[in-house]
Amino acid sequence: MSNPQQLRYSKEHEWLSAAEDGVSTVGITEHAANALGDVVFVQLPEAGTTVSAGETCGELESTKSVSDLYSPVTGEVTEVNEDVVNDPSLVNSAPFEGGWLFKVRVTEEPAELLSADEYTAFSAG
């Protein structure tokens, strides 16, 4: 698997797109999706709520387990992906594309986000 170069990554296995008009898109990585197995339910933060970097903002249920979803940045949620709510398997089939989770107007970004190469090394270790 390859992690897109234009994204940045958290150690909780979320990815973050470069901001467009101050808004970034958040999802989980293919590595995380593979580790979870088939995702059957996602609970996402509601639009208009504030999420904080490194704190839980939702959950992902797979066959075997439930995992917390962490926000990689602080900011206001502007949109959630209703397609992935209705069809959580998008997280497995297209984690970096149609399986995105929410968009956030970033107010604060932690310094320790990883580049694609750094995340690839981190997730292999």
Partner: protein, 375 residues
């Protein structure tokens, strides 16, 4: 009890095959086993509609032989093992003197004076120790055959056709819970019509050195029929849908077969005494008059998945506990098995929920199993 078992994970004879197939592996009872090869949901649905291939070599085989083999097993287990015909199998349990379940087992009668007991991997040493101890005074030998067998299962509606293409054995004549020695793909095998999926299927006990050859022959024979390799993850959802208990979840040492709704496996009418008889007679009476908790099925109205250990609630009070839970690929909803107080156990009981991380989600109480195949 397991101090003699190695601490390094054990690998089955098919380990290299699993790795070449890209399996996600997991530690299971000290064994490194395939959890899934791709999507566990797809593997589950393949078994329901076509066929799946499983490595179950972690299961624990124990051979009991001798003129007193039947008498020993009648004494050591709760079932009527002497009445099992040669070539037939029986689902049974081994209990402590206090009636607590040590393991659930399948016992195959291979010959007049030879049985094979198949224990769960997690309990194989316990069962071996108990049988060995209980054999004292019987004209019978208990042999640890865990390393003598690999176990490959082919399960699903297409499995008879796939297997028949590789063997001359009379599969039409092989009934559910029967087993016969034969040859599959040139390999000597005990062919058993048993499984843990709720589908028709077979379990093939072979020598470990033949496992790869047999696996590959089955894979090839099943190519056109939709056979896929399947991991333990879908095995768990398949057995859950079929309402089959799993040791460590629905069955424990703290429960008797009567507590688990499986009192029918205890055969008081058999000849001679057996370990646990007195306590089990009391447990049967208690279950009849005043059952503490009853094993039920729960079906979610929402999409959040109940997990083992979650509390079952009604009217704000805890009335039970989930023992197994998963998203059901067949029903398309989360399902669970749970022990609940008898007053809330009837199918259709209103107002029952599961406490899912602080939120009480509504659940329907249903009769088990969730899924029954059409014959």
């Amino acid at each position: 009890m397991s101090s003699t078992e190695p601490t390094e994970p054990r690998h089955t004879a098919l380990d290299a095959v699993h790795r070449s197939l890209g399996a996600t592996m997991t530690d299971f009872a000290g064994w490194d086993m395939p959890l899934r090869y791709g999507s566990e949901r797809d593997e589950h649905l393949a078994v329901r509609t076509k066929a799946g291939l499983f490595d179950l070599s972690h299961m624990g085989e124990i051979t009991v032989t001798g003129a007193g083999a039947a008498a020993l097993l009648d004494h050591a287990l709760v079932g009527n093992i002497a009445s099992v015909g040669v070539g037939r199998a029986r689902y049974t349990m081994i209990c402590q003197a206090d009636g607590g379940i040590l393991d659930d087992l399948i016992v195959y009668r291979l010959a007049e004076t030879e049985y094979m007991v198949v224990a769960n991997a997690s309990n194989a040493q316990v069962v071996l120790d108990a049988l060995t101890e209980r054999a004292s005074g019987f004209d019978a030998e208990v042999r640890d055959d865990r390393d003598a067998y690999a176990l490959i299962a082919v399960q699903g509606p297409e499995s008879p056709g796939i297997l028949q293409s590789l063997t001359d054995a009379d599969l039409d004549g092989l009934k559910y819970y029967a087993g016969l020695p034969g040859t599959v793909a040139g390999v000597p095998a005990l062919i058993a019509r048993t499984g843990y999926t709720g589908e028709d299927g077979f379990e093939l006990f072979v020598r470990p050195e033949h496992a790869v050859e047999l696996w590959q022959a089955l894979t090839k024979a099943g190519e056109g029929a939709g056979l896929v390799p399947c991991g333990l993850s879908c095995r768990d959802t398949l057995r859950l849908e079929a309402g089959m208990p799993l040791y460590g979840h629905e069955l424990t040492r703290e429960l008797t077969p009567f507590d688990a709704g499986l009192g029918r496996v205890v055969k008081f009418e058999k000849e001679g005494d057996f370990v646990g008889r007195e306590a089990l007679a009391e447990a049967a009476e208690r279950a009849r008059q005043n059952p503490p908790r009853v094993l039920v099925g729960l079906v979610a109205e929402g999409r959040r998945v109940p997990r083992a250990g979650y509390a079952v609630v009604a009217g704000g009070a805890v009335i039970g506990e989930v023992t197994s839970g998963a998203p059901s690929p067949t029903l398309g909803k989360p399902i669970a098995m749970a022990y609940v107080e008898a007053a809330h156990a009837a199918p259709g009981t209103e107002g029952v929920g599961v406490d899912i991380r602080g939120t009480h989600e509504p659940y329907q109480v249903v009769a088990l199993p969730f899924y029954k195949r059409r014959k």
